[in-house]
């Protein structure tokens, strides 16, 4: 049950199943989608609890050779770096399926795409093979475009679709080129990350090559994560996206770029990281401060959330750029936390949009009176968004700030200003305009989420935020061994790699040969 492949392929196979069912069975689609996201979520929880926490070893591995001649294999597993993301992604996937009640048009295609997204991104997080890493991500990314195009809202829907498509494809392709270059420079024999890590830590690439490849990955992944100044697709796209899509993309899929930086770019290209991460550290200020300021000016709630989500990404960049254990751990924590948070906020804004028909904040007000449940959760989400302790964002952001100072980055002052004050300003402004104040006549009949079943997805996501906010140690102790290795790959004497694996070079290739019987 709790195997990784089950988590990945349960949604994907369910998508195929949905494709095979005639479109009259509307209820069935939803049921299948719920089931096929709930089971992986459950399995992910089991995996999270069942894994050996502090070893940093690769666990729950599965290995199947795929294209032998190119050194591509299906190799999945978990360690501290991705377990949080897998857990978060699976839960968000289930919540997104729950929330999609609002879709009444072409359910078949919608749930099919949603399942593709879920399975795809979980696969990307679990993959230890560069090819599948990329492949699964694309599988998850493309449904985003289609969903925005078909079920999107607002008059700028088409423009948003094209913009997000072009931007993200460009980012994905840039990173693909970077990954390919990495593969070729490392000898062109294997896409396996474990094997690559071993080879490259024994025989690093020339600094010139590293410095050439790293920016490809950095900007490629950066565009996928809305690195300033390549961020304008994000607020627009999320404002136009249907709720579930915005949740999945902003919450989960977007984390792929960050994960890629940590999993591939930094540990495999330490010299490149050393010379390029300062640039990233400067650019992330654009996210933190500039996008924060932009968020302050938004009148549309979704645009505000979109911009704030872009701003939050700055913390992750800052953490990665700090290249310190504390900072990198914090960055991973923020990734997980922001996944829950973004999904929750977009779910709530989706609820508001569905019930009010508008997200213009000036037209709202006093809604807490009508929406005790949704309003409370919304207030909590927004407070979590400005870094309130008790929610998972706080420990992450704090760790990032601590780590960045340790790395001697004085601009952490501005980052803290952005997180504490600018974030506070726009989040509280939103609470003030949406929930507080006088309730206009027209919203006197707005209904709250009626019963537990409707409340479930919100509660689930909020629980994620609170659990990891109160007990961040659950994650940090899993992250630490891996983060430590990443940091030491760049700074320290220790070689990057995965502990507890046979040290013989070519082990993975040999293993692949054995399985295929190939010469």
């Amino acid at each position: 049950m709790a195997s990784l492949s089950f988590i990945i392929f349960c949604p994907l196979l369910a998508a195929l199943l949905i494709a095979a069912i005639p479109r009259n069975f509307k209820v069935l689609f939803r049921l299948i989608a719920l089931g096929a996201t709930f089971l992986p979520a459950l399995a992910a929880v089991r995996l999270f609890l069942g894994m050996e926490p502090a070893s940093g070893r690769l666990q729950y591995e599965e290995f199947v050779p795929w294209v032998y001649s190119l050194g591509i294999s299906y190799h999945v597993g978990v360690d501290g770096l991705n377990i949080g993301l897998i857990l978060m992604g699976a839960i968000v996937g289930f919540a997104a399926a729950c929330i999609s009640r609002e879709i009444t048009d072409r359910e078949k295609e919608f749930y099919l795409l949603l399942l593709l997204m879920t399975g795809g991104i979980l696969g990307a997080f679990a993959s230890y093979d560069l090819f599948f890493f990329y492949f699964f991500h694309e599988l998850a990314l493309v449904p985003t475009f289609i969903m925005i195009g078909v079920w999107g809202r607002g008059d700028r829907k088409n423009y948003a679709t094209f913009k997000i498509t072009l931007y993200l494809s460009l980012g994905a392709l840039l990173s693909l080129i970077g990954l390919l270059a990495l593969y070729l420079q490392a000898g062109g024999q294997t896409f396996n990350i474990v094997e690559l890590t071993r080879r490259l830590s024994a025989n690093p690439l020339s600094p010139g090559a590293q410095q050439a490849i790293f920016p490809l990955l950095m900007f490629g992944f950066g565009i996928l994560v809305s690195l300033w100044p390549f961020h304008t697709w994000a607020p627009l796209g999320y404002a136009a996206a249907p709720t579930a899509t915005a949740m999945m993309h902003a919450g989960v899929i977007k984390k792929f770029g960050l994960y890629g930086l940590l999993r591939v770019a930094v540990p495999l290209l330490p010299a490149g990281a050393e010379s390029w991460l300062p640039v990233l550290a400067l650019l992330c200020l654009g996210n933190l401060v500039y996008c924060g300021l932009v968020a302050m000016r938004q009148r549309d709630f979704n645009l505000l959330l979109g911009n704030s989500s872009v701003a939050h990404m700055g913390f992750v960049f800052l953490g990665i750029a700090s290249l310190s254990l504390v900072g990198v751990t914090g960055a991973v924590l923020v990734m997980v936390a922001h996944g829950f948070l973004a999904a929750l906020s977009f779910a709530l804004s989706g609820y508001l949009h569905q019930r009010l028909g508008t997200l213009e904040m000036v037209q709202m007000g006093g809604l807490l009176k009508r929406l005790p449940f949704i309003g409370t959760v919304l207030a909590m989400a927004l407070l979590a968004g400005c870094g309130l302790p008790g929610f998972a964002n706080f420990p992450g952001e704090a760790l990032v700030l601590f780590g960045a100072v340790k790395a001697g980055q004085w601009w952490v002052i501005l980052a803290a200003w952005s997180g504490l004050v600018i974030g506070g300003v726009y989040m509280l402004r939103a609470i003030r305009q949406i929930l507080h104040g006088h309730l206009p006549e027209r919203w006197a009949g707005v209904p709250d989420a009626p019963h537990a079943w409707h409340k479930l997805p919100y509660a689930l996501l909020l629980a994620g935020l609170v659990v990891f906010g109160c007990f961040p140690g659950l994650l940090t102790k899993r992250i630490q061994p891996n983060a430590s290795r990443i940091v030491q790959a760049v700074n320290g004497p220790m070689l990057a790699g995965f502990p507890g694996e046979p040290e013989a070079a070519g082990y993975w290739l040999a293993r692949g040969r054995k399985v295929t019987g190939h010469e």
């Binding site: 479109r23 795929w66 294209v67 032998y68 001649s69 190119l70 295609e109 090819f131 492949f135 694309e138 599988l139 493309v142 475009f145 289609i146 195009g149 078909v150 088409n158 679709t161 094209f162 498509t165 072009l166 494809s169 460009l170 392709l173 840039l174 693909l176 080129i177 390919l180 270059a181 593969y183 070729l184 062109g188």
Partner: protein
Amino acid sequence: MNDLVLMGLEGAVLVTGLAVLLLDLWITPDQRRLLGFGAIATLGVIFCASFAYLPDGTQYAFGGMYALDEFALYFKRFFLIAGMFVLLLSVGTSHAEEGGQGEYLSLSLFALAGMMFCASAANLALLFVSLELVTVTFYVLVGFQRRRLASLEAAIKYLIIGALSSAFLVYGIALIYGATGTLDFRQLASLPAAVMESRILWLGALFLFVGLGFKMAAVPFQIWAPDVYQGAPPSTTAFLAVGSKAAGFVLLLRVLHQTLPVLETRWLHLLMGVAGLSIAYGVLCAIPQRSLKRLLGYSSIANAGYLLIGVATLSAAGATAALYYLAGYLYTVLAAFIVIAVVLQHTGRDDFDSLAGLHQRSPLLAAGLTFAMVSLAGIPPLAGFFGKFLVLKAALAAGAEHPGFYWLLGIAVVGVVISLYYYFGVVRAVYWGTPGEQPAGPIRVEWPLQVALYLAMVAILWLGVMPNQITNLAELAVKSLGLR
């Protein structure tokens, strides 16, 4: 006798073509469909028979004119599959009423034979003849709907530009012959380096490339492609896009690697330039396009560019990439044209507006077109993705030696991004275009077309998810070409 056995596949196709031509005289019109299925079944048998050939190295026939190796077999199978789909398509659509199904079938079969000969050409004379066999039959196939002005116009354009390119090709052959005194590929390959330095030989090779470039629809010889794609009957366009283009590539690869190997490095910059220009031209011109067939014409130019990147690397990886890419492209384009053929039949148009509401009128067609577009856009898990992946990988590898490839990569990446714009435009038209006043009744797809479309979709997916088999075959083929 041994020679004839080696040539057996082409021979069988030719005999089938002749048989169809003859049988057509005796059968009643209602039996014509059966004739088509018979031809397809025969092709299927021939396809299976192709696996009986196990060339050990390269085998030559007819005094070295004809070569059979894994490379040739790869392409022969490729062409046979293309041929089967095209015949299915032509049986399924009714444009043949005008001319006569028998003629269309047999002409297609002759063109197919020409392509298969191309794959085995080991002599400039056979190269010329087989290429002309393809070209001349295509003149007729393009103009087959001779009461439709567009078809006729396309045929005339194809005729004039094709003949022009033939003239260059022939002159190129003359110059090569003049410089070396031989037409035979093996003899050409074993010439002393001093002869290879001859400028006349290089000029001849360039002229030869003009002829092949025309087939591939590569810039600057692309000019005919949009008009002809638009005007020709859909099954012809499909065959043109797949078979004729592949014929150009098979010859180019053989000439590059087996005939004039010393000239390889001279080709490099030339091919790189042509590849870059093709991508840029195809992609940019397609942006404002509203006619689907014309769009595919431009897209075909761009795809020629991607294929040429693979060829230009002059490496085994590049050639493998190109071979795999072609395989993926085959099914993708066929799927697209099957849909276009049906839509054309029902609406008489092929612009984006005619696609509106297609997902309601026929979910199958909508899915097929989506598959094709998504694969063309290079998105996993479909075949187009893995093809582009391999091409980019090969180009990156070659970049270590020739930094120009990095520029080419840049163009390729930007090209992919821009192409998403119009491929998704098509998908958008299918799923959420607003239908006009046209009758929105469901479209019934005839079963041969349904089968063809399903097969193509499965193949697109299969190639993308399980590329292993095709890449293995392609690697074998490339190895037999002498590339490491």
